[in-house]
Amino acid sequence: MNAVSVSRRSFIAASLAGGAALTFEAKLAFAAAPGGAEPAMLGVFVSIAPDNSVTILAKNPEIGQGVKTMLPMLIAEELDVAWSQVKIKQADDNAAAYGPQFAGGSMTTPLNWLPARQAGAGARAMLVSAAAQQWGVPAASLTTSEGKVLHAASGRSITYAALAPVAAKVAAPDLEKVPLKSPKDFRIVGKSMKGVDTPAIVSGEPLFGIDAHPAGMLYAAMVKCPVISGTLKSFDDAAVRKEKGVLAVVPVTDGEIPAGKHNAVAIVGDSWWRVHKAREKLAVEWDTAGFDGYSTDGYSAMAKALMGAAPTADLFKAGNADAALAKAAKVVTADYAYPFLAHATLEPQNCTALWHADGKLEFWAPTQDPGTARGDIAKVLGIDPASMTIHMTRIGGGFGRRLMSDFMILTACVAKAVPGRPVKLLFDRTDDMRNDYYRPGGWHRMTAGLDASGALVALKDHFITFGADGKPMRAAEMRATEFPGPVLPDVHFGMSFLKTNLTTGWLRAPTSNAVSFVFQGFLDEVAEAAGTDLPELMRRTLGATRQLPPEPDDTPFDTGRARGVIDAVCKFAGWTGKRSAPSGANGGKGRGFGFYFSHRGYFAEVVDLTVTDGTITIDKVWVAGDIGSQVINPLNAEHQMQGAVIDGIAQAMVWQPIEQKAGAVTQENFGDFPLLRINQTPGEVAITWVVTDNPPTGLGEPTLPPVIPAIANAIRDATGKRLRSLPLSLA
């Protein structure tokens, strides 16, 4: 089982097959637990202290999505302890013991819903078995409750703590066969639990990567090549070395350039403020040849040229779209576009590492994907992946940025230069903004054909994206199964490619945050042409309940679940389908709808907004979501959904494009890459659930995509103007 491949694949094509593999991994982990040496350990996740408190390891990175609370809830539920008994500890990176440990693709819930519960149930079974031995009664006659084993027939009870030393030596049960609770008996799952770190956060305790402070720690700042993909030609550090506090100047790499080259110079010293200030004394020359011709204007011009030609690659083809369009009763066509975006996590990229005397490397890292980082660091530095220890810190915002390994590779390079001293590399805001793995921009020419009855019968998309050799770059893809492609007889999704020197990457709800805007915005135009509204066009197009073909390794698209959330949100918001006067005669008020299926979740949203003198104010957003049979932590679920909706609003109308001139990104801070503030927050984000009999899935991402087209569609409703490029602006 290769954790790297799982994590890499999951963002677009989350693996269902992974479910089976994980069960196996959980079993492995269980068997590997030390038996006897640490008598209170029951499996790898659970340990029971003499005071009957239970420590549960949280295995995945916490980026604010709530998994440090949620995963232990699953284990505690089946272990059958009271939540007040539970203490939670962050695990180090050790996929062989714990299973995959990445935070991405909203995959923590689907990948752990069963294994985490099985781990808890397995530990419980060992405790029950120990009690049965001790009392000489059949295990089947015993029950458990709040950290105790009970024997109803004799009225006896015993704490888990008293049983733990014996239980730890009991043979691990077969986790496939260990009984799990019926959902009706859940006492923790489905209850609102506050974030485990909330008390530490509100009292300012050190939790985050930037707060790591191993004894004797040094600080590093870097001067990075201003043009991504460029390399270091030469540098003169004589003046820097004279600055107060400076101890070393080191050429380093982030691993994104050819081996043996460098693309940054790190300055190491006794204070980050000092080494950061010392950067101005560094004389440095870069080799940016071949990369300094890329620009935002250049991309636009080239995209326009490519749009006039035929696509160079096919993504999906069915029937004959051109022939069908030629005989369609009505044809609708429109061009959509969206820009490059940065992640702008509020905690800038950073990492702390210590190169030990024996060559072993220890990290304190705010990483979303420690397993992949381990492999990437090993490759760039030529060291054994097993020689690294990675402690995972709490993360000040991930959004996909920290799935990448660059900040850890850079730090490893610095640590190697100062062996025996821990060192923390911290990006400043401009470093962070100009050295991102950007959400790539893109352009779509959409063409739809309607028959005489107004039914959608043909669809074409010419997608201009970034990539080479017939393949999109990371996060520049689009699903071949993008709805409604699979249900129409005549479809052609084609692609053409632009090159860029920028590194691209996954931004919360990757690909979906752009494609949702294009497809649901365009389908709103199609609905208008068909004389109906988007929810109704969606219902007609979805047709009978059935499973549409999945992306490789993903779950199928269930048209019934899609219709379920569409109907729910329309009821919830009182959607009438009545359009406002296109002249804007409705006092500037407008209402729009959007649906999207991503990360295995089905979401439909309605936006009410007001346009006053060209300023758009979001009044209220209604959300209906289907993530299966169980919302594990309702308090956090609400938080994730409200946050994702507002994040979507920010992407749609607050954030400005990341731009390039002469190869270099020009944005430098929150002045020219503004984030959404409290004054731009919608009045209300109302949520309703559609509970269906499906395995629970994740919530970090799927609420985000529908709000973007819903806003565009509401602006059309309010003003009569159809905005087809992001950010949405009436200026």
Partner: protein, 157 residues
């Protein structure tokens, strides 16, 4: 030259460059990492502390300007009755997502409610607009401020 200031009611003396921003003095010299670095330009509010009763961006406050002043940081905010109520409301509503901005949010909210115990919606917006929450916990921040405001008024009555 050694510079003296009061941090969370304790006298502290640091001997570093006088132009070093208070943020980095707190984090590096006084071992108080609760105050966060976000933008280094006074744009995000993550580094907000209360200086002589006023919310300021510590990344834009040279140590020299803090000399002899009274500083309150997240580590000491509950020492004031208003700060304690703010933190209580923040905890009760489980405001944080990632939590990185929350120290700054709590400091701004405390300064706001100290000056204006019963702020209007517009006053909340004005008082908090300098603090970015990338996770967008704003709806809960608004609620927590309302709760804290109620608790403060209740305690005063």
């Amino acid at each position: 030259m050694a510079i003296s200031l009061t941090v969370n009611r304790k006298p502290r003396t640091v001997d570093v460059e006088s132009d070093k921003p208070l943020l980095w003095v707190l984090r590096e010299d006084l071992n108080m990492p609760g105050t966060k670095f976000g933008c280094g330009a006074g744009l995000c509010g993550a580094c907000t502390v209360i200086l002589n009763g006023e919310a300021v961006r510590s990344c834009q406050t040279p140590l020299a300007d803090a000399a002899g002043k009274d500083i309150v940081t997240i580590e000491g905010v509950t020492a004031s009755p208003v700060g304690a109520k703010v933190v209580e409301a923040w905890t009760a509503l489980d405001v944080p997502q990632c939590g990185y901005c929350q120290a700054g949010q709590i400091m701004s909210a405390t300064a706001l409610l100290t000056a204006t115990p019963k702020p209007s919606a517009d006053e909340v917006t004005a008082g908090m607009a300098g603090n970015i929450c990338r996770c967008a916990t704003y709806l809960r921040i608004q609620k927590a401020i309302a709760e804290a405001s109620k608790a403060i008024s209740g305690a005063a009555a």
